[in-house]
Symmetry: C2
Subunit: 660 residues, 2 copies
Amino acid sequence: MLLFPIVASLLSILYAVFLAWQVLKAPRGDSQMQDIAKAIQEGALAYLKRQYRTVAIVAIPILAVLWWLFDLEVAGGFLVGAVASAFAGVFGMMIAVRANARVAEGAKKGFPEAFSLAFRGGAVTGFFVVGLALLAVTAYYLATQNLQALIGLGFGGSLISVFARLGGGIYTKAADVGADIVGKVEKGIPEDDLRNPAVIADNVGDNVGDDAGMAADLFETYAVTTVAAMVLGSLLFSGVKEVIELPLFMGAAALIASLLGSMAVRISGKAIMRALYQGLIASAILSVPAFYFILNSRISADAFPRMAWFFASLVGIAVTLLLVGITEYYTSKKFRPVQSIAEASKTGSGTNVIIGLAMGMESTAAPIMVIVAGALLAYGLAGLFGVALAAVAMLSLAGIVIAIDAFGPITDNAGGIAEMANLPESVRNVTDPLDAVGNTTKAVTKAYAIGSAGLAALVLFVSYTQELEHVTGRIFNFELGDPKVLAGLFLGGAVPYLFGSMAMRAVGKAAGSVVEEVRRQFREIKGIMERTAKPDYGSAVDIVTKAALKEMFLPTAIVVASPILVGFLLGPEALGGFLIGTIVTGLFVAISMTSGGAAWDNAKKYIEEGHFGGKGSDAHKAAITGDTVGDPYKDTAGPAINPVIKVVNIIAILLVRFFV
Amino acid sequence: MLLFPIVASLLSILYAVFLAWQVLKAPRGDSQMQDIAKAIQEGALAYLKRQYRTVAIVAIPILAVLWWLFDLEVAGGFLVGAVASAFAGVFGMMIAVRANARVAEGAKKGFPEAFSLAFRGGAVTGFFVVGLALLAVTAYYLATQNLQALIGLGFGGSLISVFARLGGGIYTKAADVGADIVGKVEKGIPEDDLRNPAVIADNVGDNVGDDAGMAADLFETYAVTTVAAMVLGSLLFSGVKEVIELPLFMGAAALIASLLGSMAVRISGKAIMRALYQGLIASAILSVPAFYFILNSRISADAFPRMAWFFASLVGIAVTLLLVGITEYYTSKKFRPVQSIAEASKTGSGTNVIIGLAMGMESTAAPIMVIVAGALLAYGLAGLFGVALAAVAMLSLAGIVIAIDAFGPITDNAGGIAEMANLPESVRNVTDPLDAVGNTTKAVTKAYAIGSAGLAALVLFVSYTQELEHVTGRIFNFELGDPKVLAGLFLGGAVPYLFGSMAMRAVGKAAGSVVEEVRRQFREIKGIMERTAKPDYGSAVDIVTKAALKEMFLPTAIVVASPILVGFLLGPEALGGFLIGTIVTGLFVAISMTSGGAAWDNAKKYIEEGHFGGKGSDAHKAAITGDTVGDPYKDTAGPAINPVIKVVNIIAILLVRFFV
């Protein structure tokens, strides 16, 4: 019965494996390149192993509690979600850390070769993540026919994703900042120089943060959105199967559309962005008939407004494309925001940071308006379920969006390996522009993830209210005039602020440990600067691993504990307000951080292209400050807020019966 | 009948005039000091004249529209509110710009003399503002007996206050940053050096921003909170006079308590903060029996829960003291937040800014929890009117709080004059520590203003819902499950982000004009650096005046237009969500900006005291970046959000009948 989603998701996974095989058979470069790549692979794997071992310490008691509070199916769902989310991150990343040296080697042959290898490497993550997410949800639904068990699955995915995004985000930025402070600033050696003891850790960070962390995040977003739509469909249409299963079929159809769309990615000249967007737009266009076909074949016109549902799903696609366009505007070097940050750098670090912060704040308005307009339109077309379908349609493009994003860390690493292995300048001339585009696509993915998270979280909130009515037998209105609802709204609003603050400070603390270790090595290992002795890369990797894992606990604990506390102490009305409060400030904080951070990064790159004095000028120095500030903004705190707003909602849904 | 509020407010105004006379009779210093003070006076007066002439261009059409839509009483209320708010700012500032040279002169005699003069100068603003606000509301209520006319009065005060806070905030920071960029950075001359053409503009800015702007803001907060409580009392208790008039009597009683409390400000040694807090705590303690007496004598125990109302008013006092304590923690050099920003400066501008942003974000959580707990407690004690009484009680301490704050710009100017007039080092040794305390008290006042604004805005929201029910005859619940309410919530959340972004960029643009003018003078007027020619201070004052006024329009227009647009396009449900959305993100954005900005400033001062390398060290340079970023945060964007959240609520209440 659910053959189509099963087949489509297996196809997607197989396609990912095929792409992986294609990447792996490419030449790996000389022995020095292989050595460096191997060090990165080992570091990344060691980090992930330790991360998931640490996470297990938290996850196993939660598993036991879920089993005790509910049943084996919910606990099993949690396990499936957690393991699949972790696996999605690991598989994509294992290919990424093998693609990097191959892209550097390919860059010797020229631009098209490097681009095509890098894009394939990224597409492995994209199609593996989405295929696995659809497979996990479909199979577990088939096995249990229990929607609460699916919520457990969503919880598992979300919790792992908070850890992966936050831990990976702290790792990547702590290593980056730590390596820069001692290497670039104190010792005056360039980036990606093998004399820097933290250079391998820095490259590991790109993979565990921008690849594995992102993959876990998008796995979670995809799975939770699908589950939320299924749960809402069941609640609104009293358990009609064809409605409950509709999100799975739509996801499957769009996945096929994305597989085909990804083949439209063709580079001509150096128009990288255009090549990537071709794939996205092709996927979006192909999704339209796919959705039409699914709705017409699966949903009976007599019982349900299937045309309205079709148009609601188109709203989701339109929202995705608009969010991509807006984020491109705010983060690309071609437009006013980035250029005005670059210009403000002429008068120093202070003005660079002021204009960067202002741009980050401004960048929230248009996406919010698009999301609001999309939600209102979808609601107008097809009620609450219309909003859910719009969210599902947004997510249906996840495969191609991740593919567009995940090639970024691969090219970033390829550039690093080229530098470390002393490859000719021409190799960097190929990898550098690819890397620069990666900055914008990373920001685009984050805006997409957060936008869809906003819609998905609203759907989860509706599920919470429905579940609450189901449990208590009475109607909850969550009136804004109710002091408890307002109290919850403000308390919920504080969560992203507190979480963001802690995440940023965590980067600072972890970076501090890196700085100390790197300084120690320069002091104790004689001859590093003269290249007569090799630094101990492993020890730096080890230290940043431990620091990142230590720092990720407290913020996550606050996120998990706060809805439980609000639910028990202030009751279900306050908790409803709390959920919405978290979504509202969460969207603003996350968008301002991810877009603002990317804009700072590209403002620096814009100056490096020769504007306002170019590399080494005072403006460039000022822009480096903004870039440093933007790092934990865009790669640690901002993106981790995305799973946060879903975790609090899922916890509320799961525990609602205990709060009344 | 309302004799007591009238007498108390006149007493307060008379006391302010008496203090002004005391200040004015102090010796004015030598002729050079007088010349400088005169230039500052003229610049400040010229700015305010032009500001209010410009604002009149907006206010007069609004006056006409109000007259046309409503009646003469509402339009008259708008006029009274606008003129009184403007006058409150002007009078306090006129004394402040005369106190500055006298404090510098007094500092020659020693610490107690300078402190006492500066505090009296600040207390002029404090007691004049509060006396005038209470007088305006009481007299206009007596004259019209029309609560809608009072809402018009609140609107007038709020609109002027947005302009005054924003225009003054842009002025002060544009002049400051502009003077620093050319003077300190490019020409290497110290702060407050008469060779800098923008030095007078910089000193003018302290007065028009930190004094006149702040005074207009607090006038508005006081008047609007009182009016909101009266309106709510009338709606909830169907027009019973003793309830409607209760806020006026409570305000009058607390004003007397503050007058007495301000006399408890006694300096011993150099414990400035302690001296100021003595006044605050004495005022708070004296307010308790004052409230008890008012409630017992004015409210009949049979008809109303007067003891519950008494306890609700105590909640307001407790919230005030807690907010002061929390802000002190986050912004004073004595505690972890400021010290950790200072420590982060060791590794550069980037880490300084990261930790500063993180601390700003963290600093929102505790105040929000205090406000939420206070609102819930007051509601639990005495329902919605209990929340209104808590807000009134908070505001009743405004006189002493402003007095504590307004001495800051006076000592700042006194230090400047001492420097410019080459007074002995000993004078600066007196004014510098006074100035440093001013940073923290400024932040405390802002947190207080925003906290009370949050409560007042919630009261306004309740009034909006009551008014809506009154107009339509049906009940509005503003349910979070209603897509229109949610849409409004998100759109309202965008207002503080957009407004804050525009305010910060406005400072950048206006500062750019100052930089150009100062550079032009150095280029065209030969001999400035050699002190053989005098720069043209007036022209710099003129340019920053024009730039600030130009930049304040668009953000204010957005604030005024957005509730009208949402009301007309999406209807009254969406507007209800919009109001709450503005309050929620407004509180977070404003608190994170004002506390974060003050923490950056004091982190710099902490380093200048000799920590982490002291003045001139790399850490100090990094801390200057944070201080620059903090300037528009704490003095322009952050505090201006306070009137913004009230303006949108008042517009909604006034226009509600046209949206249905």
